[in-house]
Symmetry: C2
Subunit: 162 residues, 2 copies
DNA sequence: TATTGTTATACTCTATAACTATA
DNA sequence: TATAGTTATAGAGTATAACAATA
């Protein structure tokens, strides 16, 4: 798990009594840098939770997108997640093999598949949603009353940064 | 560049006239998800700028940490960046080969090196800092008056999330 | 014995290009 | 010709474990 180290580094900056005081210089004041640190730490925390229910964190978005867009094609799914379709192939092979996703030929166009969750897939997604709720609760505890404003800024950045 | 695709996906959600309206379901309201989307988009934007000056975005933090902590050892540097020391070896080999970093044996302890920027390293860091300033200006334009509060929340998340 | 840095190796995630089978 | 999905392959970035040199 690549995230263990990151956790240790974070602790080094917070818990550590002394040792070697590292200077982050201008980095410490840059939004980009802090955005990255916060995101990595957050992702790592969610990773832990999802591994507890036996899933990789990356599966969450895939399962959600299939659940919310029943019958979606692999190409549409890859576009929605911003990844090349070839990156999706092994993910779907795994999800189908484990019985979480059902893949059927489109009736009208036999080149494409339509994707749906199986009952097992729904159960797994429910478990991941429970993780996400726990995770969000932790974040809410930290963010407090800023939540709405904070979320609005994140969305604005995503929509407008080039 | 893995980031091209992400850019396309973002555009798909914003510019696109129609096509296939993708449902993001509960994902759209989760802080964790939005944090990730914002960070990926931001990192991609900085990537472009740093490639324009012929550097990888990841070199920025490494060069800054060396500049701000002259004579730092590889182990200390790896801890500061939250990566294993073995991950740093190829990075430093590259930076030394390109004449950006000077590596000298510690006088007192001949196991370790002390790292410093060369004049060329300083120049490259200056160029990357210029990128970062441009990048921050873009972010500031988007974030507006929220900046201080937004930054405070990011730092709080990084410090407290587990 | 413990620590610093390197090497060997592997894993994850991603991409591009060439391919197959349809259309 | 064009599109949906797969395969082959590669690259970036990370990790662990074993090692050599030094402490």
């Amino acid at each position: 798990m690549p995230r263990r180290k990151a956790a240790k580094a974070r602790r080094a900056r917070t818990d550590e009594p002394a040792g070697a005081p590292i200077n982050f210089g201008p980095l410490a004041n840059w939004v980009g840098f802090n955005l990255r640190m916060a995101q990595e730490a957050t992702f790592e925390a969610f990773s832990h939770l999802s591994h507890e229910v036996g899933e990789k964190p990356g599966r969450f978005a895939t399962l959600t997108l299939i659940a919310e867009n029943p019958g979606i094609s692999q190409t549409a799914l890859s576009q929605a997640s911003g990844r090349d379709k070839s990156s999706l192939t092994p993910v779907l092979v795994d999800l189908v093999r484990r019985g979480l996703v059902r893949r059927e030929r489109m009736p009208g166009d036999r080149r494409s598949y339509r994707l749906n969750l199986t009952a097992e897939g729904e159960r797994t997604l429910a478990k991941l949603n429970a993780c996400a709720r726990r995770h969000e609760k932790n974040l809410d505890r930290i963010i407090g009353s800023e939540r709405t404003r904070f979320l609005a800024v994140l969305r604005k950045i995503f929509a407008e940064i080039r």
